[in-house]
Symmetry: C2
Subunit: 366 residues, 2 copies
Amino acid sequence: MVLKRLKEIENATVVAAAPLTEFVGSLMHAAGMREDESLEAAEVLVDADLNGIDTHGVGYNLELHYLNGLMSEYINPRPNTQITHETPGTATVDADRGIGLVAGRFAMNLAITKARETGIASVAVPNSSHYGAAGYYARMAVPHDMIGLALSSGGTRVIIPMGGRDPWMGTNPIAMAAPANEEPPFVIDMATTVVSFGKVSIARHFGVEIPEGWAVTESGEPITDPANSPPAHGQPPLGETHEHGAQKGTGLGMMSDILCAILPGEPVSGLLPDNPKGGRFCHYFQAIRIDAFRPADEFKSNMDEMLRALKNQPTSDGFDRVMYPGQPEAEYYQERVNSGIPLPEHTIAYFRQMAVELGVEYTLGD
Amino acid sequence: MVLKRLKEIENATVVAAAPLTEFVGSLMHAAGMREDESLEAAEVLVDADLNGIDTHGVGYNLELHYLNGLMSEYINPRPNTQITHETPGTATVDADRGIGLVAGRFAMNLAITKARETGIASVAVPNSSHYGAAGYYARMAVPHDMIGLALSSGGTRVIIPMGGRDPWMGTNPIAMAAPANEEPPFVIDMATTVVSFGKVSIARHFGVEIPEGWAVTESGEPITDPANSPPAHGQPPLGETHEHGAQKGTGLGMMSDILCAILPGEPVSGLLPDNPKGGRFCHYFQAIRIDAFRPADEFKSNMDEMLRALKNQPTSDGFDRVMYPGQPEAEYYQERVNSGIPLPEHTIAYFRQMAVELGVEYTLGD
């Protein structure tokens, strides 16, 4: 596994979650955000690091999306977030070009509140920016005994639709979380490509090889050594080829575009000119109250039973165990809450530089 | 494409949709169903044939699931379908072991009715049987200017979860439909395996080869010549291998299990003993009212724009054109409404035999 190898080769500085959240929040605050909202945003990023989702933590996207975006005012640091349409079970929330990390929490909380009354609720968010790991928002439903969904679309075009030659959609992730009783929750958080584009970029940065099917050149040839190849032209959708279901990956990406972008009235990325700053993003959230369908404690016991049965399945060659979506993240979480979050040299150097540039005290290790 | 080849090798009898619906309905009525419900059920099957989804039409599942099920009373021909839980935006509908084709229409109509009030609504259906092509129910939302979703879980275990050795879930399909204005609607209807199990079974029946990744033996070896291989032990999830996203296919299948089975209180197929009759099924439906988020005509115009832009994308080698999910089905529909539905010899022979057995007049061609 490339990601595993990337985690190993980092010459890491290990930092605890609380001071990391405070420091990253102070950078975002200094870049123009309200203090409370900067901490909310930092929490989402550090949560990704705690869960082992290094592609969506503080190390990669803070530089690529958030601080750059805030400082160039491509992201509006003080947005006037507004509900533009509303029914008992739905809302459209215009994020006013604000940071997706804050708009996402606001919108998911609104969906949870509405679902208390109607049993299920959805909130669509146009005019936003990158919101980090989709799974965060889906998991917000779990403590309320709800099932959560979170989708996002937009950003840089990377998915080459089946039969096409050029990238046409963002990685358009789909996430769902459902609570169990004693087991960690089920959490799927998937790009609708074969892998997230972040993994290709990180492999390029660290000089690590990648499998065929993760990224292709302009002529459609697979890229396996991204550090010694031209930048990826695009990524195949999940399924990769027609015979192996690329039309399904394409369709899942389009589902995200329809619910996140077309439903609340945002153009899909395939219809926008290239944007060197990464394009706009839009989101879709849903909360489903479990006890609208049956008692929640019965549901959660049955979830335990399902997840345990899956974990106890006999393994195939090359696997030590069968895991369910959400289980590896929960294991990282335990480990990193106890031992801290490893950050690569590049990120520490970037933090130091930004601390100077934004006049913030650097409070983390070397 | 194997499916294309299958469609070509059939020594077909061509039948128009209306008499086919009437004949298939009369068989189901003679097998114990109410006359109106038998016609409702037949409409769903013939609609799959019209849309070119031969794996889910009258030819394959009538024998495998419906008539066998009704005649053995494994499917309850006269169920007492009941709402057991209800909120403004949700319901649980116990299908009382009735035919999924009728329970599915009832439940999706209920979701559509509820969504008129709350903007979005979901209905979960435990204790049901096979309901045909999931896309049918998702498409029911389209004339109401709604987005429809339909999932199903249960049945014979075929999906081998990533890292596992044995099949553990049904193919657990996920479908979504969204209306456009002038273009045919977007409709994704996908098994969470690489391909539906029906395609493997049909390839076996007709002696056609299949690509690696569609089915495997007990030791995990790929099956490519199903007619000359032992019956498939199971199917890889969408993504096929860990490096290519098999954890995503596994997770999508589990999403179906959670929403269709655990949410309304049905055991997932992985926890049930083997069932030679194909196991129980359960479903989950959702309707989303578009004008709860923005004016529906604007949404539909933007859908046209998106779908046309995708169709006009430059193609890669081996493809004549880029198509969107729902487009091939719409093209089959036009063709088969005009020219009729081709049925293989095997199906015609089965119809004749069932007509005799059930005392129904055989009214179709040779």
